[in-house]
C-alpha cells in the first residue's frame, strides 16, 4: 500500500469535486456514480448515452495514465469469491435503495448540505467501519 500523501489526496479530491461541479454546470446532472450506472439499466436510449460516456471516461482515466507510464496496479481483493459476489450485490442494491453512494451522497449531496445525504454518509461510513472492525478484528483477523 502506498504511504499516506496528503497533497495527492487533496489534489485528487479537488479533481473529483471539479468533475462534479462541471457535470452540473454543463449538463445539469448530479455526478453520482451509482445513479449514473443505475440509469443505464432503466432509462431511455436518449438518456443512456451521456451515462455510458461518463463511465467510459472513468475507465479511460487509468488507461490514459498507463499510456503515460503509470499503469493501474491490480486491485488487491483477498476476500473469497462468495464474499466478493455478496459485497457487489449489497453495494448495487443498497446504493439504489438509498438513491446514492459515496459520490452522490458523500460528495455532491454533502456539498449541498442536504440532510438526506449527510445522514446517508454517516450511516454508510459507520456501517463500513463496523464491518471492517468485525471482519478484521474479531473473526480471527
Amino acid at each position: 500500500m502506498a504511504a499516506f500523501d496528503p497533497v495527492s489526496a487533496l489534489f485528487g479530491g479537488a479533481l473529483i469535486g471539479l468533475a462534479s461541479a462541471l457535470l452540473m454546470l454543463l449538463t445539469g446532472r448530479v455526478a453520482g456514480i451509482s445513479g449514473i450506472l443505475g440509469g443505464t439499466l432503466l432509462s431511455t436510449a436518449g438518456d443512456r448515452a451521456w451515462r455510458l460516456a461518463f463511465i467510459a471516461g472513468l475507465i479511460a482515466a487509468p488507461l490514459a495514465a498507463g499510456l503515460l507510464g503509470n499503469p493501474l496496479a491490480e486491485a488487491q481483493m483477498p476476500a473469497s469469491w462468495a464474499v466478493i459476489v455478496a459485497a457487489g450485490l449489497l453495494v448495487g442494491f443498497g446504493t439504489r435503495l438509498a438513491s446514492g453512494c459515496t459520490s452522490g451522497h458523500g460528495i455532491c449531496g454533502m456539498a449541498r448540505l442536504s440532510r438526506r445525504s449527510i445522514v446517508a454518509t454517516m450511516v454508510f461510513m459507520a456501517t463500513a467501519v463496523l464491518t471492517v472492525a468485525i471482519v478484521r478484528h474479531s473473526l480471527g483477523g
Binding site: 500523501d5 462534479s20 448515452a49 451521456w50 457487489g88 438526506r116 467501519v129 471492517v132
Partner: protein, 153 residues
C-alpha cells in the same frame, strides 16, 4: 456535446480517484479500519472534493440553466426515510467487505482483474434487482426519467 462533456467529466473524476489513491481498495479499507493502522487518505480526498464542489455548485446556482441542457436536475427530496437508512447500511456492509464503492469499482475494470469484473457484475445485478423490486412494488411504476429525477446521485 452533452456526451462529450460527460466523457470529459468522467475522465477528470477518474483522474481524481486515481491520483488520490482511492482506486486502491487497500487504502480505502485502511481508512475504514479505525482499530488498525489508520490511513486518513479518504478524509483528505473528501475534504478536497467537498470544498471544490461546494464552491462550484454555488457558482452553478447563479445560472438559470446548465450550459448544454435545459434544466439543473438538483435532487428534490429533503426527507430522511427508512429506504435511505436501510440502503446506506447495505452499501456500508458491502463497501466494508471488499473496499470498493461504485466509482472505483467501475474504474478498476481498466485493470482487467477477474475479481473486479465479478464484483462489478454482482453490483450491476444488485442494481437490476432493485429496479425489478421497485417496479413490482408499485402498481404504477414511474417512467425511467421520473424515477431518476428523485434520485440523489
Amino acid at each position: 456535446m452533452q456526451i462529450l462533456a460527460s466523457l470529459l467529466c468522467g475522465l477528470i473524476f477518474g483522474a481524481g480517484l486515481l491520483i488520490s489513491g482511492m482506486t486502491d481498495p487497500v487504502k480505502v479499507l485502511g481508512f475504514l479500519d479505525v482499530l488498525g493502522r489508520w490511513d486518513p487518505t479518504l478524509a483528505f480526498v473528501m475534504a478536497g472534493a467537498l470544498v471544490v464542489s461546494a464552491a462550484g455548485f454555488a457558482v452553478v446556482r447563479r445560472r438559470p440553466t446548465p450550459v448544454l441542457a435545459a434544466v439543473h436536475l438538483w435532487p428534490p427530496r429533503r426527507n430522511v426515510d427508512r429506504a435511505l437508512v436501510a440502503g446506506s447500511m447495505m452499501f456500508g456492509i458491502g463497501w466494508g467487505l471488499v473496499g470498493l464503492c461504485p466509482g472505483p469499482a467501475l474504474e478498476n475494470l481498466a485493470g482487467f482483474s477477474p475479481r473486479v469484473v465479478v464484483f462489478v457484475l454482482a453490483m450491476i445485478a444488485g442494481t437490476g434487482a432493485h429496479a425489478l423490486w421497485r417496479s413490482r412494488a408499485s402498481s404504477a411504476p414511474p417512467a425511467g426519467d421520473a424515477a431518476l429525477s428523485t434520485s440523489d446521485g
